[in-house]
Amino acid sequence: MVSEIFEGLRRAIEMIISGNPAVIDATLRSLYVSGTATLLALVWSLPIGIIIGSKNFRGKRLLKGTFNALLGIPTVGLGLILYLMFSKSGPLGMFHMLYKPTAIIIGQAILITPIMVSFSANAIEAVGTEVKDLAKTLGASEAEASMAVLREALPGVTLAVIASFNRAIAELGIALMLGGNIAGLTRVLTTSIALETTRGNFELGIALTIILLLIVFSLNFAVNMLKREQT
């Protein structure tokens, strides 16, 4: 086992330095797909998070509970449901999105919505109503007051975004079901790892895993640097 991991490490370094085209292709696609999915999910998750985190309404606990529970949705299961939707004989078949990066982007955006909503709602809730009330007494409008709350909750929201991106880039089921792991079109890092493993190329699988980890680590590191700058 140890020898395979070391061999994988060596191969990973080798592939990065030599610029192995298949690896670069999968790596860039992973970044593009999961990055876009994160931005897309942010568009609807942040407003939902703000509403749940800052307002009181009937059914709020139920809604929060639902999002919390959906954190654990199995990616293969979600992938299968979405496959049936996107399939040519499914309700969204006419858009021809299956086996294209777009399908994975939408799938991953749905997958990470619960994470973003739950984390950001919690962060906003933690800021409390005081900030909002204070802003309002100082003459801020409702929207301005919400912005003030959001600014206070920014570290928590950033964490929500990072956690979401990490989940998206590391998931396999959706990329496999909706993308089909097509070389040069929908092959991302995780599907490459799965493929090389079934092909028996364990070292290559480990090498790709190391590259995936490097991305996640360096991104988190960069964000931490940013946060330190702010405080």
């Binding site: 292709d25 860039l28 696609r29 970044l31 593009y32 990055g35 876009t36 399939s87 040519k88 004989s89 499914g90 078949g93 299956l98 086996y99 990066p101 089909g180 792991n181 097509i182 070389a183 040069g184 079109l185 493929l195 493993t197 079934t198 092909r199 028996g200 991104l219 960069a222 640097m225 940013l226 700058e229 702010q230």
Partner: protein, 325 residues
């Protein structure tokens, strides 16, 4: 300090922008797309990557291989999510044809499944015929001397295994409930081989995956029953019927079928990894069936994978008799 922050933001956004640009520039604009659903055991050998390369050099068509189990491959085609299927399960293929989904079937290649087991061979099945070998394994399994690992995942290989048990007068569904000597791995061929190796068990494998794992020293299991009639494995291709599933790319599917049966591609199949393993991974089938050049094996193929005496009954030619001349 402000500067550092700016650089950080710039670096992150630059990564995403360059990734997007790269993929945009290299995306498959303007080329027609052909989706082929195929079985993992075939795709995992790497043969299809080579075929894709050669084909795309010649034609302005982009092939996308979706590699899944045989059952899933057929289901994808029925739903209109694939234009072509490349599989190895004659009974399922026949159903696909008669249900009106498949047309223009061509047998393109064959090889043999292998029964592998520990070198010590406690059940003494080496070079026995398949039926006899399986019966011995069951006998020794009952007395706790050997273990059998079954895929149990409805893959082409698993369907083959079920059929083999059946022809040996045994029933897979009953066997799997017999307990500790009969293990269901429920996973792919590679992992199944690793499990069998770990437990010094017997299992049925496709030759490609076995040779790959064996040559890399991951397993020490030996081929105990090889090239024989019962273990024949036949790969064929079928286009999806545009009359049944109107959205398919039928025209390019025919182009691809013609390429698969061309002399050039058949040679490619013949020589694939032959030097690396010192034996054939696949044997081309087109000329063999046309010329009856090796009549014993040709007869085996006809018996195993022909329907009503032909690889594709005339009513499923769908206006392409040139494929069968």
């Amino acid at each position: 300090m402000k500067k550092l922050k700016l650089i950080g933001i710039m670096v992150i956004s630059l990564i995403f922008i360059s990734a997007t640009l790269y993929l945009f520039v290299f995306s498959l604009q303007g080329r027609k797309r052909l989706i082929v659903s195929t079985t993992t055991s075939l795709y995992d050998t790497g043969l299809l990557d080579l075929i894709e390369e050669e084909f795309e050099d010649k034609y302005a068509i982009d092939i996308s291989f979706i590699s899944v189990g045989t059952g899933q491959a057929i289901e994808y085609a029925k739903r209109g999510d694939a234009d072509l299927i490349l599989v190895h399960a004659p009974s399922a293929e026949y159903e696909f044809l008669t249900e009106g989904y498949g047309v223009c079937r061509k047998i393109i290649a064959y090889n043999f499944f292998v029964i592998v087991g520990p070198a010590s061979d406690p059940a003494q099945i080496k070079d026995k015929n398949v039926t006899c070998a399986l019966q011995r394994i069951v006998e020794c399994g009952h007395s706790g001397k050997v273990v059998w690992v079954s895929r149990g995942d409805n893959s082409g290989t698993h369907l083959k295994e079920k059929a083999l048990w059946m022809s040996a007068g045994l029933n897979w569904t009953q066997l799997k409930d017999e307990g500790s000597w009969f293990i269901e791995s429920g996973t792919g061929m590679g992992k199944t081989l690793l499990i069998a190796n770990e437990k010094e068990a017997y299992t049925l494998s496709d030759i490609g995956t076995y040779l790959k794992y064996y040559s890399e020293g991951r397993i020490s299991l030996q081929i105990l029953v090889g090239q024989s009639k019962g273990l024949l494995n036949v790969y064929s291709v079928m286009a999806v019927n545009p009359k049944k599933v109107p959205t398919v790319n039928f025209k390019d599917a025919i182009t691809f079928i013609k390429f698969l049966i061309s002399e050039e591609c058949q040679t490619l199949i013949e020589n694939f990894k032959k030097d690396e393993y010192g034996q054939n991974l696949f044997y081309p089938a087109v000329n063999l069936l046309k010329n009856d050049s090796d009549s014993v094996i040709a007869d085996w193929i006809k018996e195993y994978a022909f329907f009503n005496g032909t690889e594709c009954p005339q009513e499923y030619w769908d206006g392409h008799p040139e494929l069968y001349s």
